[in-house]
């Protein structure tokens, strides 16, 4: 895992976001055991306390859970993963439409444009 950070945004929020992407994209599998906080912190080059905070947040989102003696695991709840995936896709799409609007495309034009450049794939 290698993350890029933007110093303008709280680091733990960026970790939550990046780890969420790893989970919804399947880079980390449902039910997979996560490395220890310290190892994750070392891999991503952040402070262990910051990583701990991010993992607690992911626990609150139910995307990971702790087994008391075995460590932390990614959820097995496929429906929940799908839900977060859809939420994230919505967010990305909204960003796309907002950016297109800023250069004068309305929603229909933006969709048409997307189709026109994605059509040959």
């Amino acid at each position: 895992m290698m993350f890029e950070f933007d110093n303008n945004i709280p680091i733990y929020l960026q970790l939550v976001e990046q780890l969420k992407i790893y989970i919804i994209s399947g880079k980390i599998n449902p039910g997979e055991r996560l490395p220890s906080v310290r190892d994750l912190a070392l891999q991503t080059k952040v402070n262990p306390n910051t990583m701990q905070k991010a993992l607690v947040e992911l626990e609150e989102l139910k995307l990971v859970y702790t087994e008391r003696t075995n460590g932390r695991f990614v959820t097995n709840d496929q429906k929940l993963i799908e839900k977060y995936k859809k939420e994230y896709a919505d967010e990305l799409s909204k960003k796309y439409f907002a950016s297109m609007e800023s250069i004068g495309f309305n929603i229909n034009e933006s969709i048409k444009y997307l189709k026109s450049i994605g059509g040959d794939k």
Binding site: F5, N7, N8, P10, L13, L42, K45, N47, N49, T50
Partner: protein, 232 residues
Amino acid sequence: MMKLLECININKSFGNKKVLKDINLIIPRGKIIGLLGKNGTGKSTLIKLINDLLTPTSGKILVNGKEVGVESKKIISYLPERTYLDKSMTVDQVIEYFEDFYDNFDSKKARKLLRDLDLDTTQKLSKMSKGMQEKVQLVLVMSRKADLYILDEPLGGVDPATRDYILDTILTNFNEGASVIISTHLISDVERILDEVIFIDKGKIILQSDSDELRRKENSSIDEIFRRMFKC
């Protein structure tokens, strides 16, 4: 939890010049803390006081609840701004020196870290580049099993790749339950690894905050906040 370090109403003057004014500070265990300030604002003086190399004009400094002295020196591992090592010594000699000097120095760990650097330990310090000397110093300091690591400008005058190495080495090697104080003015390079920041200016502490909390409140990086606050 017991406070690791506490500064109570510290004042320090050199002659008529007040260098530190009413410093009150608590450092808990298990944190990486940035002591941030422009050049000449009292950072190094404060660090020397904590290391009992200077005596405060008034006030008290407690480490693990006891006033600083012989006992606190055993559990504080200090990287000074300027090296105190004799540069005619080889790295092997310096390692032996540290072994003699500090009960908590882990020479195996030091040797392992130095091996990772591909360093010839029979070489004299004076024959090595500045960057390499800084790395050796840091390895020695981080190879002590200390409660508190105090690093005064560990990134001064080294290239960005060496900076990354230094930050990694700090992150990887501080003991669980120990704390690290990093003094620097190169904020953008270190801010990612800091739990807390302390801003010091004209001998006074003007801010102590959780770093992510500060970013959230101000919507910007610590570096940017610092620049805005201390615009010349």
